[in-house]
């Protein structure tokens, strides 16, 4: 069953290539499952066709943790688990892996590493900042992806227990704290880097725009979006200078 592991792992990097609103990651999961399920074709062709069909059905989770679900469902297929149990496993993993991955990567490792990269770029050298970010972030991502696939294959239907007792919940907490600290640290340093080259009144005005934005973010809560605020202030400036009708 471990034959095709490397190929499946490589294919997981493209798990979102055909993302859509109906099956979400489904087709990508089916594509990544193919090398792992290939061996079943010669031993149990009807089961293989069913397993391939199931592998491409609706699924959604964080893309970096998709290997956990892929490994677990493939192991369950080889163990001859009935269809309804495999479907329940997939459904259960959707929410769990989605929430864990979003916290661990999107709200944790990514801002933490990017904060570090910004600091290195503005205080030191942009190329070192980029190198630090790309090597550090992707190193973690690749290791976690490989661990996920192996853990999923070993855990099968008991993968939930393997996840709960793994390092992920603890790491999620620690990385979240690091992300908060690094972004907090990076913002004033980036501000200093950008504002130091502006005339003093302009720098003060930029800080006022930032404070106004934070006030709006406090007032509107989760509905505040930086890109909208950015477009709003750009529109105001252009209106003021008569560029826009």
């Amino acid at each position: 069953m471990v034959r095709g592991l490397g190929s499946a792992f490589t294919r997981l990097f493209a798990v979102q290539a055909s993302w859509n609103y109906e099956r979400m990651l489904g087709i990508g999961m089916g594509y990544a499952a193919e090398p792992l399920l290939r061996e079943m074709k010669s031993t149990d062709a009807p089961r293989h066709a069913d397993a391939v069909r199931r592998s491409a059905e609706f699924f959604n989770c964080h893309p970096y943790l998709a290997g956990l679900a892929l490994g677990a469902t493939v192991a369950a297929e080889y163990a001859g688990e009935p269809e309804d149990r495999i479907q329940r496993l997939r459904t259960a993993l959707c929410g769990t892996l989605g929430a864990l991955g979003d916290h661990l990567f999107w709200a944790g490792l990514l801002p933490a590493m990017m904060g570090m990269a910004l600091i290195a770029a503005v205080l030191w050298d942009p190329w070192w900042g980029l190198g630090l970010f790309l090597v550090g972030y992707n190193g973690c991502r690749v290791v976690v992806g490989w661990w996920g696939l192996r853990t999923g294959l070993a855990g099968g239907m008991r993968v939930g227990q393997a996840i709960a007792t793994s390092w992920i919940p603890r790491a999620r907490f620690v990385v979240g704290l690091a992300a908060g600290f690094m972004v907090g640290l990076a913002v004033p340093l980036v501000g200093r880097f950008q504002l130091a080259v502006l005339p003093r009144p302009a720098a003060v005005a930029a800080i006022a725009v930032a404070v106004l934005g934070l006030g709006l973010a406090y007032r509107f809560g989760p509905t505040f979006r930086g890109v909208r605020y950015g477009l709003f202030v750009v529109g105001m400036v252009l209106l003021y200078y008569g560029i826009m009708p």
Binding site: A14, Q16, A17, S18, W19, N20, Y21, E22, R23, M24, I27, Y31, R53, G98, A107, P111, M114, L118, A121, P126, W127, G129, L130, N138, G176, G180, M182, V183, G184, L185, A186, V187, P188, L189, V190, G191, R192, Q194, A203, A205, A206, I207, V209, A210, L212, G213, L214, A217, F224, G226, V227, G230, L231, V233, V234, M236, V237, Y240, Y241, I243
Partner: protein
Amino acid sequence: MIEGIGIATLALLALWGAVAGIDLVSVPQFMMSRPLVVGVVAGAIVGDPMAGLRVGVVLELFALDVLPVGAARYPDYGAATIGAVLVVAGGPWVSGVGLGVATGLVIAALGGWTMPVLRRANAAAIAGRLDGLQAGDSATIRALQYAGLARDALRSGLLVVVAISAALLIRYLQPLGDEAALALTVAVIGAGLASALAGAMRTAGRSVRVRWLMAGLATGLAVALAW
């Protein structure tokens, strides 16, 4: 052609922008599409690395506000950063950053709108090959996967062409006077700082993470003042 930026440079920029666009969602999600990464590399391509850094840093502040969760529609900053760097490159970036980043924000929002179109196109392709999927045909899955990838490559390519065209037009028209350009720079830097902090506060919620955010902020302010 605009001084200092030839066809080969533009082609290289377009290629880099398309790679960054595909990296955003499809493959391999190595974060090459982050504005800081795209900006610094694009700056090196056009021969103005400092412009690339300054634009990339500001757009990165906006990108830090974005959580690319689930089916959310989020801005595509890859092509946007290419356009922004091209607007600023070779010029005075104290006043150019504003116009460049403003262009980038518009293109990023436009890129965000292309995502649902791509996702619906992928769904339509799947609907057309349900027989193969129901039969458990691996070739059908492979074909759908490769077609999805090709669609995203086309989307990214078209978006970067739009970004480069818009940037060249802005460079040609020079639409802003010095005062307005500086005001725009002030506006985008201020909005970027607010955006990154608002995103960090939203993610922290009321958890212990807020204290770490505040500790980082205090340390950063102390270092920035002592700098």
